[in-house]
């Protein structure tokens, strides 16, 4: 079952989100998937229990414009994704600097595919 998403470019994001807000959509959340050499960012919006999804694909190491100036609620989730995937957001109103959830000891960006295998290897070493 496919998820119907509207694919847009990174530069269109701010304008697209602002137009959704203008017609009464509220921000639900943002999902991020590691595709190997790029990330899929899926923005979920909701209006009267009808959902609409925007998808942008960014290369690793790219920055994404933050939508926390449009929806304040996006603040937490953007910080979370910064922790987990290492994607930098431009113009985040409150930046925890990648330590929203994680302490110094934990390796960086645990949700990226390369690093997911590491804890297993470390466990076997114990």
């Amino acid at each position: 079952m496919a998820l119907e998403t509207k694919n847009i470019a990174k530069t269109q994001l701010q304008a697209e989100v602002a137009s959704l807000k203008a017609v009464g959509y509220r921000f639900v959340t943002l999902s991020c998937v590691d595709l190997g050499d790029s990330f899929d960012l899926i923005y979920h919006f909701d209006r009267e229990l009808q959902m609409t999804h925007l998808r942008i694909t960014v290369l690793k190491g790219d920055t994404v414009p933050s939508i926390s100036n449009i929806y304040f609620a996006a603040l937490c989730i953007e910080n979370e994704i910064k922790d987990f995937f290492g994607i930098s957001f431009d113009g985040l109103i409150l930046d925890f600097g990648g330590h929203f959830y994680l302490e110094e000891e934990v390796k960086r960006y645990p949700f990226c595919k390369v690093s997911v295998k590491e804890p297993q290897a470390a466990k076997e070493g114990n």
Partner: protein
Amino acid sequence: MGFFTKLLETSRVKSPWIVHFDCGSCNGCDIEILACLTPIYDVERFGILNIGNPKHADILIVSGTVNHRNAKVLRNVYDQMPEPRAVIAIGACGTSGGIFREAYNVVGGVDKVIPVDVYVPGCPAKPEAIIDGVVLALGKLKEQRTAKDTDSLAAELHQAREFYANRADRQVVE
């Protein structure tokens, strides 16, 4: 003096005070610990009192897995407790890490950070099991009282004083 020490020791075992700290628990064990305090199980029958302050507590109940961030808090709570003290690890997560022990941010059971006296298995542990665990921990408290010496107490007091002198969290900003 001997009489008062004895009285103190007896009262400690007769009415242990408990502090509960939730590490990375899923809430399942937490609500079972709280359920022990409520009318159906009512551990206050035994003089067991749940208090929020580790400095007054004899027994530390820990539920949930330890991760890197709350390990420091757990250590801190444990250090603030006066001797003799006992630690109870509740649930599969508290005893070994349970289903999460392969996750990246999980250190493991409580015993990786602080010494644990009683392990209560279950996912979540039943209130009856938690009461049993507290009773077991009381035995530990009784044994520990002879091992107490004043030097280590004085050292701990000094450590605690230094901690409070250098406390960074509560600063006053102009």
